[in-house]
């Protein structure tokens, strides 16, 4: 187990290095000079000297290989460079915003799992019935509705029906749990709806598959209640492929959070990324991309470990 984990952790290095090289070169080969955009933001005419000085300050005057070297060496120590726009360390920019985004992601996952598992199971057990049909249309709608619009509808509903708005400004959970939850529950709900639609679809198809297995027939032949057959035998086995989807969707949550944070005015990673993309802030984009890649490989490892823990047939190799 320990050697397996060590091996997997070592195998992450080439993947992460690949991401690092790819994002670095993609951002450099193309036009768009951040320095020019930044200095002439308010329409001012900028002298050549000012441009050169700013480039030197950001390290953009060095040869590409040196820039890459600096960045890669920094990566190994967790130093992601400084934002080209605000000049604050990228690490700090990310670290101050990560708790908020992580909490929303976690809450959304809990919501999604609690909604999707019963939904998918019911849909599969009553396959072809009106219930199945309704649930399938609901999940399809959940996939079609853009999360930023859903967020706006939630705000509008709270405002028009209850004359209430989520509090402004984020408070850490341990400082003010009520203010924290009453702010973050809404984006979590919005993200959770789409998330649960994806998970419910997976759960439905894997329950359908599992119900045709021999061991289900055996369980029924033993005279077990259908309830026990479903809960102990079908759902447990159907969980495996579902866990993969839950994990991968978790790694992809930042995609949905990019727009949802904007709607709810949350200062999280998603919003930071929007600013970075709008400002051509290369170091910040690189830093967040590396964070997403790191989350993705960690989640994949976690899925594989969970598989082995839940299914005794799978062994660590």
């Amino acid at each position: 187990m320990v050697t397996y984990l060590l091996k997997r952790l070592l195998l992450m290095i080439p993947t992460l290095l690949g991401v690092a090289l790819l994002v670095f070169f993609m951002l450099r080969v193309l036009p768009g000079d951040i320095v020019e955009i930044k200095l002439s933001a308010d329409g001012a005419v900028v002298s050549q000297q000012a441009l050169e000085a700013e480039r030197a300050r950001l390290g953009l005057d060095k040869p590409l290989a040196a820039q890459l070297g600096d960045w890669l060496v920094g990566l190994t120590t967790g130093d992601l460079g400084r934002s080209m726009w605000t000049n604050r360390p990228v690490y700090d920019e990310i670290a101050t915003r990560l708790p908020l985004t992580f909490q929303v992601a976690l809450m959304a996952t809990v919501i999604a799992v609690f909604v999707a598992l019963p939904m998918g199971t019911l849909s599969a057990l009553y396959r072809g019935s009106w219930l199945d049909y309704t649930l399938r249309i609901v999940t399809m709608a959940g996939l079609a509705v853009p999360s930023f619009w859903l967020g706006m509808l939630v705000i509008m509903m709270l405002l028009l029906w209850f004359d209430w708005l989520p509090p402004l400004g984020y408070k850490p959970f341990w400082e003010d749990p009520i203010a924290n939850i009453s702010l973050l529950i809404w984006p979590a709900l919005v993200i959770g709806i789409r998330y649960s639609a994806v998970v419910a679809r997976m759960m439905r198809s894997s329950i359908i598959e599992v119900m045709q297995e021999d061991y289900i027939r055996t369980a029924r032949a033993k005279g077990l209640f259908e309830r026990v057959v479903v809960a102990r035998h079908a759902m447990r086995n159907a969980m495996l492929p579902t866990i993969t989807v839950v994990g991968l969707e978790f790694a992809f949550l930042l995609g949905g959070l990019v727009v949802t944070e904007q709607v709810f005015n949350l200062n999280g990673i998603g919003r930071l990324f929007v600013q970075a993309a709008a400002n051509n802030d290369f170091t910040l984009i690189q830093g967040i991309v590396m964070l997403i890649a790191l989350i993705f490989v960690m989640i994949n490892l976690l899925i594989d470990v969970l598989y082995a823990l839940l299914d005794p047939r799978i062994r660590f190799q």
Partner: protein, 300 residues
């Protein structure tokens, strides 16, 4: 099968068989047909927007700012007095053009890369697949945003070409991965060996012999990604990274100041979002049915 036993009837039957296929789709896939009807209506509205829309989508009318829905303005007006219904109809044009073009581009390049990767195999395949692994580890909106940051804007005939590219590029690895696995089994078939023995060039074998045989997954992915592309365009426009004013676009109608009128003008929030949802829903419905119809075993 019929082609082999009676080759002479093939030519005569072709149009009738095609119509038969459409009828078969309509009868076996009622949900998909409903989706198709919605898509057709949107396309017609988008193509003939000039004659369908009751007002000009960009003319401002300060006499009718934030007017609630009436017969004159069925979906109300926005903060500049522009007719919301007309902007949604013209927005259908923007959404469909960007959705169709970028999905077509992304899926076609993706299919070509996937098939070529499967055909050449070995180190080429390895290298391409590792690159695809990396790209697949990012949500597609993140990739699109990086592309927007890299490419900047490039207007051509009123359409932001670079926006189309930014949406098309994240689609490429997804399609390449699926078509590659479909092409792997084709590669082993005798007719590919035959083509190779006949001395055909690699390009000819890939383009003429392998690509046509991944048509079913290609079409399925193409429709599925039109929905994704429309959603992506709306999200980018909402974030201010996509279509820019004054071009009417659904995502753009929900961004910026328009979101400040929750209390005064809920119709500003309601209708553009409904349009996006309906379009994406229709394409998803049609795509799913097309998948069941063309290839029941295939899973995207």
């Amino acid at each position: 099968m019929a082609d082999i036993s009676s080759p002479t009837t093939k030519v005569v039957d072709a149009p009738r068989r095609q119509r038969g296929q459409i009828m078969l789709f309509v009868t076996t896939q009622p949900m998909g047909s409903a989706g198709l009807i919605v898509i057709m209506i949107m396309m017609i509205a988008g193509i003939f927007a000039e004659s369908v829309a009751p007002h000009d989508p960009v003319t401002m009318n300060y006499m009718a700012m934030l007017a609630p829905p009436t017969l004159e303005h069925p979906f109300g007006t926005d903060a500049y007095g522009r007719d919301v219904l007309s902007r949604i109809i013209y927005g259908a044009r923007t959404a469909l053009v960007i959705g169709l073009v970028s999905s077509f581009l992304g899926s076609s390049v993706g299919a070509l890369i996937g098939v070529a990767s499967a055909y050449f195999g070995g180190k080429t395949d390895m290298a391409i697949q590792r690159l695809i692994d990396i790209l697949l580890s990012f949500p597609i909106i993140i990739l699109a945003m990086v592309m927007v940051a890299i490419l900047g804007r490039n207007l051509w005939l009123g359409i932001d070409i670079n926006l189309v590219l930014a949406i098309a590029i994240p689609i490429i690895p997804k399609v390449a991965r699926v078509t590659r696995s479909a092409a792997l089994s084709i590669r082993e078939l005798p007719y590919i060996d035959a083509a190779r023995t006949a001395g055909f060039s690699h390009a000819r074998i890939v383009l003429r012999h392998m690509l046509p045989n991944v048509m079913a997954p290609y079409l399925i992915l193409l429709t599925a990604f039109i929905a994704q592309a429309i959603l992506l365009e709306a999200s980018l426009s909402f974030l201010g990274l996509g279509v820019t004013e004054p071009t009417p676009a659904w995502g753009l109608m929900l961004s910026g100041n328009n979101a400040d009128f929750y209390r005064e003008a809920p119709w500003l929030v309601l209708f553009p979002g409904l349009a996006i949802s309906l379009a994406v829903f229709a394409f998803n419905l049609f795509g799913d049915s097309l998948r069941d119809f063309l290839d029941p075993k295939f899973k995207a």
